[in-house]
Amino acid sequence: MTMATRKKIAGMHSVDTNGRSKHPASTPSWVLPLVTILVVLVALELATRFHLLGHDFPTVSAVGVQLYEQIRDPSMWHQLLRTLLAWILGFVIAAVVATPLGSLIALNRFLDSSTRLIVDFLRPIPPVAVLPLAVLLFGTQLKMTVIIVAFSAFWPILFQTIYGVHDVDPLKLDTASVFGLGRIDTYRRVVLPSATPYMATGFRLAATIALVVTIATELIVGTSGLGYQINQVRYAGDTAGMYALILITGAIGSLVSWLLIGFERRTLHWHASYRRG
């Protein structure tokens, strides 16, 4: 008991065996970030109000008003849902296809070597480059966006899965083999869990890229979604509205990565990078 607690405490403090104090904080941890955000907002307001950045920038307060307008506008929410739908569908399809495929490739030497060059060649092709082709083949509706998004989210997941499965500690495999675990049990209970941190990274990357591609598609092709909404207010000359929408996309992006990190924290709490006292 005492040993365990000692270890835990030591673990918690091991970050600063140097004696550099990392928590002098008597103030709560959210104060500092909040202060910076306020400082930045005020600075931007002043800079835009006095046209320090040129005349093309709306003031922070004007953007704030537009933000409020957009949030009240049901059509924004409608477009937001469209974006989320395309994003989630594309992401899920990519994950469902890439994870088993990646495992299969990584576990099979022959498949691994055979597909390596193809994967290396296809992976760096920016999905937006095939956008014109996708539009011709799949039209301009949800289906096309989803396919493009899935295509772009596919590679990071596939890659990380292959990498993760490859990187399973051989000693763990030996352990499984000595203790008579079957192939399926070994995969389910040893290979898969130890590859999950890599896969989680893949998911996080894929989610970010997928969102970028969703919005890029909406901007370029004009499929409905937040990107389309941005174009619309832009064409209407409403700069403040455009910034407000960009803020909203940023918020979505933050929310998405925040959710994913929370999810990772839960499922990978055992992993060294998430362990807490």
């Binding site: 093309d56 014109p132 539009v135 011709l136 083949l137 799949f138 039209g139 301009t140 509706q141 289906k143 096309m144 901007l219 370029i220 092709v221 004009g222 499929t223 409905s224 389309y228 174009n231 619309q232 207010v233 832009r234 064409y235 209407a236 000359g237 409403d238 509205g241």
Partner: protein
């Protein structure tokens, strides 16, 4: 080995809404511009319903996107310019115009320069940077043809494609020398003191009745649903005619599908909407398109325009 994954429109004519005499649903790709206002008005006024049609208006960003969308079968109709459709046809895409939309009008398109610019006519443009909403298609054709006819050398122009809202800012910052734009930006430009040096080039190139844009569809769809085509053409003609006569109502409908403020809408110049497709001007446009290299090869008008069943 033609790819499938395309035609989902096969069942369109069968689709009926519950109640009332079954309406057939047609999907139409629309752009958030002034061009499509009559269609919105027509839907509102019930012209399409009267013809047994229910329109599903699907927004998209450009004529090229519309052509792709029609080809892939995700919409039945799209709006595009003659050059775009002719070039697509020349490249082997089986599409053709079905119903009229906009035709040439004073001042809906123009080439704009800064107030203090030293550019005054087409000849002055040689060696300059000009912004267009898209390249290799109608807008570029318009000013190229106009320029050539007026003694300029379009080969020396530096053309750049740019979203129209950004053009005035780019002009103001001297990043470009001239910009070719349409309503509502043209009105805004004039009000902000920019100068229009070429007004409506299409008029001088093709003539009074030049077609600016029109509704097109895929041959396959046309063949499959001849009755719906007839109804669509008739309803569109009605909507166009009505729109030409009721500008207030037309202006009223625009903010419903764009984000344009009412103030802007009240000032813009509205185009004339044609009741029928003009085969003559189409023919001329295509031949000039071939001449100036915008259309790969001559396309017979009969391949380009739906004649009715």
């Amino acid at each position: 080995s033609c790819s499938s994954g395309s035609n989902s429109g096969g069942d369109v004519s069968a689709a009926g809404s519950p109640g009332a005499p079954a309406l057939s649903t047609l999907k139409v790709g629309v752009m958030p511009f002034v061009d499509v206002a009559p269609m919105y008005l027509g839907v509102k006024k019930g012209f399409y319903k009267d013809h047994g049609l229910r329109l599903d208006l699907i927004p998209m960003q450009s004529g090229t996107a519309a052509i792709s969308a029609v080809m892939s079968g995700s919409v039945d109709f799209g709006l595009a310019t003659p050059i775009a459709v002719a070039q697509a046809r020349a490249k082997g895409l089986p599409i053709r115009f079905v119903a009229p939309s906009e035709q040439r009008v004073p001042s809906i398109n123009g080439l704009v320069v800064k107030a203090n610019s030293r550019l005054h006519n087409a000849k002055d443009l040689d060696g300059k940077t000009i912004a267009l909403s898209s390249l290799k298609t109608q807008p570029q054709f318009n000013i190229t043809a106009f320029g050539t006819m007026h003694g300029a050398d379009p080969g020396s122009w530096k053309l750049i494609s740019m979203a129209t809202p950004d053009m005035l800012k780019a002009l103001g910052a001297d990043r470009i020398d001239a910009a070719y734009m349409a309503e509502p930006f043209l009105t805004q430009a004039k009000e902000s003191g920019y100068r229009v040096i070429i007004n409506d080039p299409l008029k001088s190139v093709i003539g009074e009745k030049a077609m600016v844009s029109a509704w097109f569809s895929q041959d396959k769809t046309i063949k499959a649903k001849p009755n719906l085509m007839t109804e669509f053409v008739a309803a569109t003609a009605e909507a166009n005619t009505y729109s030409n006569k009721h500008h207030d109502e037309l202006r009223g409908i625009i903010p419903s599908y764009t984000k344009l403020p009412k103030k802007v809408v009240s000032k813009i110049t509205l185009p004339v909407y044609a009741p029928t497709l003009n085969r003559e001007t189409m023919k001329k446009t295509v031949s000039l398109g071939v001449k100036y290299g915008f259309v790969d090869k001559p396309v017979p008008v009969d391949d380009l325009v739906y004649r009715g069943k």
